[in-house]
Amino acid sequence: MDFSLSNEQRSWQMIARKFAEEEIKPITLKLDEAPDAHGTFDWGIVEKGSKLGFRTMAVAKEYGGEGTDYVTQALVMAELARGDSSISKTFSQNWKWSHLIQQACNEEQKERFLRPFVADHRFLLGKGITEPTAGSDNRLPPKDAPKAGLKLRAERKGDEWILNGEKCFIANAPVGKLFFIDARTDPNAPLRQGTTMFLVPSDTPGFRIGKVFNKSGWRFYRNGEMIFENARVPHANVVGNVNTSDMKTAQAGDRTGGDLFGDLELAANALGVCDDACEQAMKHAKTAKQGGQLLIEQQHIALKLNKMNMLTEALRSYVMRIAWEHDHKVHSANAGLAMNFSTDVIQEVTEINLDIHGGAGGSEAARHAEKLVRDSFIWSHLAGDSVQRLKVAQRLARMTAPGH
């Protein structure tokens, strides 16, 4: 048992903390309060972070990345999220898919895609799964409805595949240069047996971005529609085998870090937001007065500070544990459970912080407190809705012996 950090982990944490303090915090509220979805993004912060390695943290050193372990990745995500949750996510989203490239792609593909990704500070990655009529069906394919799930069609034509259809609510879609796309290659087979994953560059002919979504929280994190009209993708861009789907877990069990990283990612990001909220609340309680008395001298305020710190430290303990478990390929339902837990914690903690600030009054601190609450609601559907919890429950059940 050892909770201390290695020097390398500690130094990454410090670099990220400094970047969050000096570069992210000064711009986060302004970007959040931009009226339209386009004013919320800033390439400058992406490039600055990329130069420090925050874009390529998860790429192996041999490909020019930072090759950090999961513990370091968790620490950095939390520190960046302490500055702005959606900026942290914009960076870590690339880690998620570079994990996938390294786990699921062949050598030729790695060379072809990882090198340019590492070289270009504005090269962002994404993955398209969700479609207007297929959300949770992709995550929990129903037994009694084999045709449920994504409909985007891909048909082989010589050395190419022709893609037709639509994806929606795709992160990084408006800013990404390369996307993983799940497409139906056998419309008659159930999802898992009829789907193939493709690598689709943003300049693929027949492929374009549709509507850009304007979110109430996580506003920096771009999200949009993808439209495929006879989009032509070379066969060489097929990831793994045709009709095997869901490479990120299928081929390599849970070890690829695709899914599992995604769970850790949201939990670690939430942790950073909670740290921010706890810091803001304590600061306010120790400086603001009511009737001449510091807020913190009141029991109801002290009890709220206790609760938000209690939940945040419990989350921190859990996040660092699963990060370590990932580094040691420990099999469990913990990553998913921690992600679910982070949903409950980030929402409760940010709401308490807003409460301590007395609602979003005019002060910057109060508006910031309200932003955190809006950001936290993203967890409801990404990390903590009933489908996310049922999926983990199934895993839990599988991991305990039958009849026990």
């Binding site: 009226p35 979805a37 969700t130 009529t133 959300g135 949770s136 069906d137 929990l140 129903p142 009694d144 409805a145 449920a148 609510f169 979504f213 304007n214 979110k215 109430s216 929280g217 996580w218 999200n223 009511q290 009737g291 001449g292 008395q293 001298e297 009141q298 109801h300 305020i301 709220k304 929402q347 807003l354 409460d355 007395g358 609602g359 979003a360 009054g361 005019g362 002060s363 109060a366 309200e370 609450v373 809006r374 609601f377 993203i378 409801s380 559907h381 809705d385 009933s386 489908v387 919890r389 049922l390």
Partner: protein
């Protein structure tokens, strides 16, 4: 005799306002721009139509030309309006409630001066200016203590012959941007009084863009600089137009109820249409159970609001122990604000990613319910106020003024 039957009139009111909301309000407000929480614009023509239906003068006594609706009816109507738009509901509820209080407290001369215009002009709204910057009622630190801050009024009204000269600043004034008459709490030197000051009076400036921007409808700051009004603009009798703390008509939570119901109905409709897992999602236990909890929280909140509303009109029911002698409105606020916020969040969750899109209604409902949750002194202070009454502690009303 205990009865939960609504009168035919109440049900008709509800139906009328509900179709007004469907036909006139929703088409205007349920569009991308208006759903953006940044948008503060009030659809004036919709407000005019509502006024022509009598919703602006809903609570005003019949003999004074109003509808004379009781507190329960006002809450029912306000819930319906808020199910369409919380901002519209807030403006009308505030003017209606102040119409009852102000014109009830006026002398005949004052009524003659202000009532005709109020009745004629569909855009004649009212505002009550009480709160001042950097003041708080601080019940927290006053809890069971005699020390602590009093309800300070720094706005001074100096008598000068036949007039008062008023100087000071009031903030968080509901309806500031639409009011044609302000009732302003001032210190006259002889105590705290309420002055009637028409909008446009020289020396009175309204700042609609003042922080906090944390309200429904219209809210802002008014600055008084040597604003001169006739001496007979002073209201007679008690300065406290808000009634006994924690016991007035729970209009704020009636608005919240409307917000919660709109979110719930949207979620239920969607859950019956949206197919995942081979069937409408409402047919999955997880979604069905969640919607049931939402429905329960809303129904319990409505019980609380209606109970408090009715009680505010029937003090006898607390006197004869039909109802407990407790601040039922404060209790309704504490319960409903928390229950509805959770309900709206759960409703939004059913929409997945659509629940956070700024051109979709759900994130607006969440934001609106959040405003209801974190308003005024907050629920922690309200709970302490309730606790003082449970334990029989009495404090000077002004210390606990709402």
């Amino acid at each position: 005799m205990y009865s939960l039957h609504l009168s035919a009139e109440q049900i008709e009111f509800r139906d009328t306002v509900r179709s007004f909301v469907d036909d006139e309000i929703k088409p205007v407000v349920l569009n991308a721009n208006r759903l953006d929480i940044g948008d503060r614009a009030l659809p004036k023509d919709v407000l005019d139509k509502a006024s022509q239906m009598g919703l602006r003068t809903l609570a005003l006594a019949e003999e004074l030309g109003g509808v004379g609706a009781d507190a329960l009816t006002c809450c029912i109507v306000t819930e319906e309006l808020a199910a369409g738009d919380a901002g519209i509901a807030t403006v009308l509820a505030e003017t209606s409630a102040l119409g009852l209080a102000l014109f009830g407290a006026m002398t005949n001369a004052q009524r003659d001066a202000f009532l005709p215009a109020f009745l004629e002009d569909d855009r004649y709204h009212l505002a009550y200016a009480s709160h001042e910057p950097d003041t708080d009622t601080a019940l927290g630190i006053d809890y069971h203590r005699t020390t602590g801050t009093a309800h300070r009024v720094r706005t001074k009204a100096e008598r000068n012959g036949d007039s008062f000269v008023v100087s000071g600043v009031k903030d968080a004034v509901v309806n500031a941007g639409v009011a044609k008459l302000f009732a302003v709490e001032v210190d006259t030197g002889k105590g705290i009084g309420v002055l009637l000051i028409p909008a446009g009076t020289r020396g009175l400036t309204v700042n609609e863009n003042a922080e906090p921007r944390w309200y429904h409808g219209s809210c802002g700051e008014i600055i008084l600089q040597n604003c001169t009004v006739p001496a007979d603009s002073l209201l007679q009798g008690s300065a406290n137009l808000r009634g006994e703390p924690g016991r007035g008509a729970p209009l704020a939570q009636a608005i919240n109820l409307g917000i919660g119901r709109a979110a719930y109905e949207a979620a239920l409709d969607y859950a019956r249409l949206r197919v995942q897992g081979g069937r409408p999602i409402v047919e999955h236990q997880a979604i069905g159970g969640k919607l049931a909890e939402v429905a329960v929280r809303l129904e319990m909140s409505r019980n609380a609001v209606w109970q408090a509303a009715w009680a505010s009109d029937h003090p006898a029911a607390q006197a004869d122990r039909s109802l407990p002698n407790l601040p039922l409105t404060a209790m309704a606020q504490v319960f409903a604000s928390e229950a509805i916020y959770r309900a709206v969040k759960d409703a939004a969750e059913c929409f997945g990613a659509m629940g956070v899109m700024r051109d979709m209604p759900l994130q607006k409902y969440i934001s609106d319910a959040r405003i209801c949750l974190y308003s005024g002194d907050g629920n922690s202070d309200l709970k302490l106020r309730i606790a003082e009454q449970l334990s029989g502690h009495r404090r000077a009303p002004l210390l606990a003024a709402e």
